[in-house]
Amino acid sequence: MKRLLTYAILVAGLAGSAHAKDVTIGAIIPLSGASATQGEDQRRGMELALEKINVNGGVLGGKLSIITEDSAGRAPTALDAAKKLVTVDNVPVLIGEFSSGITIPVGEYIAQQKKVHLNVASTSIDVRKIKGDFYSVIGLDDVSGAFSAQDAIDRGAKKVAVIAPNNAYGQGIADAFAKKFKELGGEVAASIMYTEGQTSYRRELQQLEKSAPDMYVYTAYGKESATINREAFELGLTDTPWYAMYITMCTADSDPKYIEGQIGMDLNYVGPSGADYQAAYKKQYNGDFLSTFNGFAYDAVMMAAAAINKAQSDDPAAIAAALAEIGKKYDGVTGEIAFDDEHQRVTQPYLKLKIASGKVASN
């Protein structure tokens, strides 16, 4: 019922803003398929950004709007959507997709078409291969995996067992973690990539258990992390410390009982403007973040708007130039955003967190 209501509000909202022919940008996110939860969260981030922008005067004196397309988690559908947005809707800026395996082909197409592409979720280091005006608003796995490895060592781990989803994201972050962790003198006793969407992960967890680690390191999407946390608890694995990479995403759907005492890291979206954003999100959607991805989507839209305003034009080349300028130092809700030569976000402030009394708290 609640969903239907949301639809109704959405329909009304879209109809209301339809007459304003101003600047339109495009977004491709997975609203169905395996990563639909994260896609929905991205949509929320963009929606909040859009509201804020248009309340504060919009862009180029008019209104900003976003055409959102579903990728269904499929590369062909995402590509259909990209071609529609570029050649039919003629958007200067595109945001998306979620998984690296889809962002890369879409990115290559957008680069060819000389449009601006903002990557807000794909953290595989392979996205560096995309040339053109491709900007990553999210830090890539080499950044977050390395941070986690350092953090785990700092917290006394010597021998860890790692579990991550068997997709571009999971493989990337697990590799980055293992590389840094070994450099720092630790041992990765076992590393398991799990298949998404299973009803049980007991087998994977039992394999991990056999390596007798002194810390479990994991990262998982909300859907699967709930199952993993529950089964780890049922198998008694939670007697050993659990370290979550992106702890908010990993614990969002889990029962507090299973995750009590977990430690981990996450992005810092509680900066000066982050706190307001989090409050706005809570108010609008009546709950906590679904994943960690909404903030990047929010920042991407905000940056795009700022770049359009700075360029005083909706021409992609001008926007790209403005974006590069803004991207020297931008204060986003996910912390300070600065791009390197390849337009990838260099620094990403992370937080060291833990779960205390069922809530994410700083360590």
């Binding site: 969903r3 609203l31 169905s32 398929g33 395996a34 639909a36 939860t37 929905e40 068997n166 006793a189 076992a190 398991i192 990539m193 799990y194 298949t195 969407g197 299973q198 009803t199 049980s200 992960y201 007991r202 087998r203 994977e204 039992q206 394999q207 056999k210 390596s211 909300g222 859907k223 709930a226 199952t227 529950r230 089964e231 608890f233 049922e234 198998l235 008694g236 759907d253 029962d255 009982k257 299973y258």
Partner: protein, 297 residues
């Protein structure tokens, strides 16, 4: 070691009820009903919705199971009977189509997020060195009870006799005065109820999402075919064999052979393992392990 037995039992119990349902419905309708895996997810979703609406777990599960039974009978009357008149392969494609539409309905009504029962969680018990939770014990119990009831129904009641007679020879059963249509309707309802109960049991131990049904499809098929489609109690054995194979594949440590401490096959190969068993069974004994081969001439 006992942990292995527990793991096998738990996995088998995931597949068993749905596989038995699949086999039972095949024995009479003579086509593999793909939608049955979706009935399992439907049962779980309905029970969760009812529980959220305020009903306690047990009544909401019972109501959900019954609703799914009714839905299955309706679908059978409206769609599958007509498709079956064209051919069993057509009915199979039709059931695939029905399960896609069911997916779409889930997507619109429930959305892509997973759903869970509101259950009190307990620490695992230790039994002979194996860890097992109360819910798991309960799910094993319910599965065993459901299978027993089904077996009694099949072998000790008039309905069971009619079912077996119709399964063996539809025309003959018709001629001897058995109302085969009624019998078939009963089996469709019973198998859907079993599947729904199976879905509820899986969800009791974890969660359900819109993918659950389709993810279950092939392992369930494997169990049902291994036991011999159309031989419902064979599916029990099939489920145990599949569960054993899947657990073995992920539990065997290849490390010592390769001179390392720990080398496991990726857990994803567990499902691949059950599919390979399915294919091998079809090659070696197309009618399943527990049906003696009679070559048609």
């Amino acid at each position: 070691m006992f942990q292995f037995v527990v793991d096998v039992a738990l996995r088998a119990c995931d597949l068993m009820l749905i596989a038995v349902g699949m086999s039972a419905v095949y024995s009479l309708m003579k086509f593999p009903n793909i939608a049955l895996a979706q009935y399992a997810a439907m049962g779980a979703f309905l029970a969760i919705v009812l529980q959220r609406a305020g009903l306690p777990l047990v009544p909401s599960s019972i109501v959900a199971v019954l609703i799914v039974g009714v839905v299955a009978v309706l679908l059978n009357r409206v769609l599958f009977e007509r498709m079956l008149a064209i051919g069993s392969s057509t009915a199979m494609i039709g059931s695939l189509a029905v399960s896609m539409v069911i997916s779409a309905i889930f997507l619109v009504i429930i959305g892509p997020s997973p759903a869970r029962f509101n259950l009190e969680i307990t620490r695992p018990l230790r039994v002979l060195g194996a860890r097992i939770t109360e819910h798991q014990v309960l799910s094993l119990g319910i599965t065993a009870a459901a299978i027993s009831v089904f077996a009694i129904l099949l072998f000790k009641t008039d309905l069971g006799r009619c079912m077996r007679a119709t399964a063996t020879n539809n025309l003959l059963a018709d001629a001897t005065g058995i109302d085969t249509r009624k019998t078939k309707t009963a089996v469709v309802a019973i198998s859907a109820c079993l599947a729904a109960l199976g879905g509820i049991i899986i969800t009791m131990k974890g969660e359900v999402n819109i993918q659950t049904g389709l993810d279950l499809l092939l392992p369930v098929f494997s169990a049902a075919i291994l036991g011999g489609l159309g031989n419902p109690l064979g599916a029990v054995g099939g489920a145990i064999v599949i569960a054993m194979a899947e657990t073995l594949i992920t539990n065997v440590n290849f490390g010592p052979i390769l001179g390392q401490d720990l080398v496991f096959l990726p857990a994803a190969y567990a499902t691949a393992g059950s599919f390979v068993i399915l294919v091998l069974t079809l090659l070696w004994r197309p009618r399943g392990l527990f049906i003696s081969e009679v070559k048609r001439v």
